[in-house]
Amino acid sequence: MTLTGTPPAVGTAVGPAVGPAVGRGVRRLDGRVKVRGMARYAFEQLAESPAYLHLLQSTVARGRVSDVDASEAEALEGVLLVLTHLNSPKLADTSDGEYTVLQSPGVAFRGQIVGCVVATSPEVARHGAELVRIRYDEHPHDTRLREDDPDLYAPDEVNASFPTDTDEGPVEEALRSSAVVVDQRYSTPMEHNNPMEPHSCIATWDESQERPTLTVYDSTQGAHGVASTLAKVLGLAQQDVRVISPYVGGGFGSKGLPHAHNVLVALAARTLPGRPVKLALTRQQMFFLAGYRTPTLQRVRIGADADGRITGLVHEAVEQTSRIKEFAEQTTVVSRNMYAARARRTSHRLAALDVPVPSWMRAPGEAPGMYGLEHAMDELAEACGLDPVELRIRNDPPADPETGKPWSGRHLVECLRVGAERFGWSRRGPTGSRRDGDWLVGFGVASSTYPGNVMPGSVARVRYGGRGHYAVHIGAADIGTGSWTALNQVAADALGLAMNRVHLEIGDTALPMATVEGGSSGMASHGSAILEACRRFREEHGESPEPGATTESAAAEHPEAKEYATHSYGAQFVEVRVDADTGEVRVPRMVGVFSCGRIVNPRTARSQFRGGMVWGLSMALFEHSIVDHRFGHVMNHDLADYHVPTNADVVDIDVSWLDETDLHLNPLGVRGIGEIGITGTAAAVASAVHNATGIRVRDLPITPDTLVR
C-alpha cells in the first residue's frame, strides 16, 4: 500500500484503538467474492419457486384512478395476482404518505405505484403489467420549482434536525457598508442517485406459525430501519419482521430509508403467503420511486472589506418536496459556520409539488450548498483581486461562528496549502490566458466540508466461538464503503487478535441493532459500538474466555463530543480543458486533500474519497434529471440519457489526507469519509472553467452548450 505522497502530520494524538490492523491498508475482505460475482445481492438470494412482481405506475401527475380493468392480465397464464387499491390488504399505519401504498385511488405524482402484477416468470409479469388498463380522472398538476412560487413555505426544520433559518448580526447593514459585494444566483438540478444495483427485494410472508412473519432480503443501507418501518406500516411486531442484506450494490442515500416498493412487495407477499415474491425496480422506475436530490435555487450574497475579510453572508435556498411527504434538504446550513462572517443569514423555503418524494443523495445539503457558497467565494476572490486560496485562508474562523464552540479539529488551511503544493497551484494563470492547441486550460479550487456525525443506538455483540475464534455481530451495512473490512480491523485490534480470528457479521436484523449506513457516520457509530463491546468483553471474560462467552454493548458515552464543533474539511483543486470549438469539458487532473480524523483503512478510504470526487465531477458536468412539466416526469430516465461519468471522463485523481486523530467526537478518533469528497468539487470545476474561458456557468451542469460560442 503506497499513499500518493506523504501527508504532513497534524494532531497526531494516539487513541486507544490503535493496533496492528487499524491504519493498515488491508485488502477488502469481500473483494474475492465480489470480483467473481459470487457475493449474493438481494435479488440473487436463493428462493424456492419465486414469484416475480412488476409494478404498475400512474401515467398522470395528479388525479385519481377511475377504473381498473385487469381481466386480460388475470387471464394470462402464469399471472398469480393483480394487486391494486381495489383489492389490496389494508395497512395498519398510513401516517407516512410515501409508504401508504394502494390504500386509495389517489395519485400524487406521475409514476406513483398504482398496482402490480405478480407472475411465475419475469416475462409474464411484465407482459401482464402491460395488459392492465387503468383509467384516471386527471387533475391539474404543478411540478415546476420557481423562486416566486406564492406557496413557498418554511418547514419546521430541515434534514438532520437543523433550524430552517438563522439570522446572526446586522447582515443587511454589513452588506451595505462592504467594499466588495457579490450577489449571485446559483442553481443545481434534480439529480438521481442511481446506484448500480437497482432497489430489489425478495419478500416471504409466512403464516405457518402462530403469528405471521415477514422475511425480506433487501438492498438497503439500514436493515433495522427497513424492518421497523415495515412492521409499523403492516401492523406486525418488529421481531416478526426480518430483513437481510449482506451485500448492497451501492446506495448513496437512496437505500437509506425504505421506499414504497418495499411496502408493495410485502403486500404482495402477504397476499401469496409462503411464496417468495421478487421485485427489482427497473432502472426507469428508479427515477420515480427511489428518492432523488431536490433541485435548488440559491442566492448567495457576500460582502467583504477591501482585504477580502467577509463582513456579511446571506445564503438562501428554494427547494421542492412532494405533496405526500416532506423532505427539506439542509442546503444552506454549510454557510452557518464555513467562514468567519460577523453577520450571517441563512434560509430554506420549500415548494410542495406534484413530484416524487425527494430524499437523501450523497451529502444532502452539503453537496448543493457548498456549490453555491464556494462558487460565490470564487467570484468574491475575483472581485477582491485575491487568490481564491488566500481568500479562504483569510476567512478561516478560529472557533465555530455559530456556536462559539472550539473546533474539534479544523485543518482547512492546511488542506488548502498542501493541496496547492501538490497541484502546482502557483502555475495558475489569469482568466483565459492558457491555451494548449485547441484546448483552453484552467485551474480551479474550492473547499470541502462535512460534519462529523455519530448516531446513537447501535449495539454490537462479541461472542467467543472457541479455538481462538470470535464472532462480532452488528446489523450494519457495507454499501461499498468497506465496512466489512474496516469494522473487522477495529474489532481485531480491540480484542488484541489477528484479523482472521474475528468473524464479522453485518446486514441482518437478527443481529444487534445498527443505525443506518449514512451521514458518513458508519465507522463512528458502528465502530465505536464494536470497540466498546470488545472492551467490555475482555473486562467481563478476560483473555481466556469460555466458548460461548458473550457480551453485548452500545458505544460508550462520549459527553465531550457536545463541547466541540466537529467538522471535516478538505480542499479540491481541478484542472479543466475546454475545447475551444465545441465547449466540451475534460478534467485531466484533480487533487483532493482531506482532514477527517483517523483513517482506519487507507486502501478503502482512498476509494471513498476518490469516489466522492468522481461524484463531484459528475455533478459539475453531467447529472441532470430533465423534467417535462407538461407530463410532470423525468424524461431522461435511463443510464443512456442520465449521464454519469464513464471511465474516459475520469483521468487522474490524487487523494491524500492529513494524518490526524480526533478523539473529541468518539474514541476511535474518526469523523467519517463517505461524503466529503463530493462537496465543493463542482465549484472547483466551475472555477476552473471560468479560469479557462472567462465564462461563469452558475447553473449546473456545465454542459458543452453552456460554453460553445
Partner: protein, 332 residues
C-alpha cells in the same frame, strides 16, 4: 412485452420469405436496438426471424477497389478491417465513436443503419409520439428537445437519427443493397433514410419485408484523408449532440474534393451539400471553412432548447476540416 415466436432463417431469401409473409414479423440482428425496444414496449412483433447467423458477415474487396460489407458484419470487426482503416478512416472512426466495445461486438452493419431515434418521447410509451403512434402528436416540438433536430424537421417530428456509422456512409456515398420479395435493389445512402414530413413513423424508404444484405463503397481515394468528429456530453458512450464526417482533398491550397455529412442534427444523416459546393474549387482556409459551414446551417431551424447546435455544428465542421488540412500537412 407480448410473446413472440422465434425462428432462424436459413439464407437471405428464406428470411425475406418468412418476414414478408407476416405483417407483424421483424428481423433480429445483433438485437442491441430491437431487444431494447421490446422491453420498452416500443416494438411488439409477434414473430422474430433471426438473421444474425446468415453468411453476410464478410467484408470483401471489390474489383474496382471498393468494398462490399456484409449486413451481419459486426461493428467492431468493420472498424478494425484493414481496408476500412486505410481507405475509409472516417468509417472506422465513426464506428468506434459509437456505443461501447460490447455493443460494437454485437451490433451489425444493417442494424446500425436501421437504429431508431433516441428521442425521449419516442422511447417513453407513456407519452405521445407521432413516430411510435401516428397521429398522437409530437410533444418534443415544444418540449425537452435539446438533443433533437435543427435541420429538415417537420411539425410532426423533430427526431434525430442516432447512428454515427450512417453519417460516415452518407459522406462516402455508400450504396445499400436490399433484398425484397420481388428481388434485389440498390439504394443510395442519401435515399435510404427519410425526412419526417407528415409520415414520421417511416424512418427509411425500405418496403415491408425488405432485408439489407450489404453496404457497398465505391473507391474514393480522397477518403484516405477523412475524419469523424463527434461532440457529446461526456467523453465516451454517449450519443452525438453534433457530429461531422468529412473527406477533404486539398491540392496547392485549393479544395479538390470534399464530402461532409452531419449527425445529431436531423432525422437522417445530413449531407452538407451546400457547404461542399461552397468549398469545392476554392481556397482551403479556416475562413472559407467557416463560411461554408454557415452556408449549410443557414437552413437550420432550431427548437427551444437546441439553438446551440448551430454554432456547435459550425465550429465542429470548421475544426474537422482544419484538422484534415493539418494532418495532410504533417504527412506531406
Amino acid at each position: 412485452m407480448r410473446p413472440f415466436t422465434y425462428e432462424r432463417a436459413l439464407d437471405p431469401a428464406d428470411a425475406v420469405a418468412r418476414v414478408a409473409a407476416h405483417p407483424d414479423a421483424a428481423y433480429l440482428g445483433g438485437g442491441t436496438n430491437l431487444v431494447d425496444h421490446l422491453r420498452l414496449g416500443v416494438a411488439a412483433p409477434g414473430r422474430l426471424v433471426d438473421v444474425s447467423r446468415l453468411a453476410l458477415d464478410r467484408v470483401e474487396s471489390r474489383d474496382d477497389g471498393g468494398l462490399r460489407i456484409g449486413a451481419a458484419v459486426r461493428n467492431s470487426d468493420l472498424a478494425a478491417h484493414p481496408s476500412v482503416r486505410h481507405d475509409f478512416p472516417v468509417l472506422s472512426q465513426a464506428l468506434l465513436a459509437g456505443a461501447s466495445g460490447q455493443i460494437r461486438n454485437m451490433a451489425t452493419t444493417a442494424g446500425n443503419l436501421l437504429q431508431r431515434t433516441r428521442c425521449r418521447y419516442f422511447q417513453d410509451v407513456t407519452t405521445p409520439c407521432n413516430k411510435r403512434e401516428p397521429g398522437s402528436g409530437c410533444p418534443a416540438v415544444e418540449g425537452r428537445n435539446r438533443t433533437l433536430a435543427i435541420l429538415g424537421a417537420s411539425e410532426h417530428c423533430v427526431a434525430t437519427h442516432p447512428s454515427d456509422m450512417a453519417v460516415a456512409l452518407a459522406a462516402l456515398d455508400a450504396d445499400v443493397v436490399v433484398l425484397g420479395p420481388s428481388g434485389e435493389r440498390r439504394i443510395p445512402m442519401a435515399d435510404l433514410h427519410r425526412l419526417p414530413g407528415d409520415e414520421p413513423a417511416r424512418d427509411t424508404t425500405l418496403d415491408p419485408g425488405e432485408l439489407i444484405t450489404a453496404v457497398e463503397l465505391a473507391p474514393l481515394p480522397a477518403a484516405r484523408r477523412s475524419a469523424y468528429r463527434k461532440v457529446r456530453d461526456r467523453a465516451s458512450y454517449a450519443f452525438a449532440l453534433v457530429s461531422v464526417a468529412a473527406v477533404l482533398e486539398v491540392e496547392d491550397g485549393v479544395v479538390r474534393e470534399v464530402r461532409i455529412a452531419l449527425g445529431g442534427v436531423a432525422h437522417k444523416p445530413w449531407r452538407a451539400t451546400r457547404a461542399e459546393e461552397a468549398l469545392r474549387g476554392r481556397e482551403a482556409t479556416a475562413e472559407g471553412f467557416r463560411a461554408a459551414a454557415e452556408a449549410e446551417l443557414g437552413a437550420a431551424r432550431p427548437l427551444s432548447e437546441n439553438a446551440f447546435k448551430v454554432p456547435m455544428a459550425r465550429n465542429a465542421i470548421t475544426a474537422t476540416l482544419r484538422g484534415l488540412v493539418r494532418a495532410a500537412g504533417e504527412r506531406a
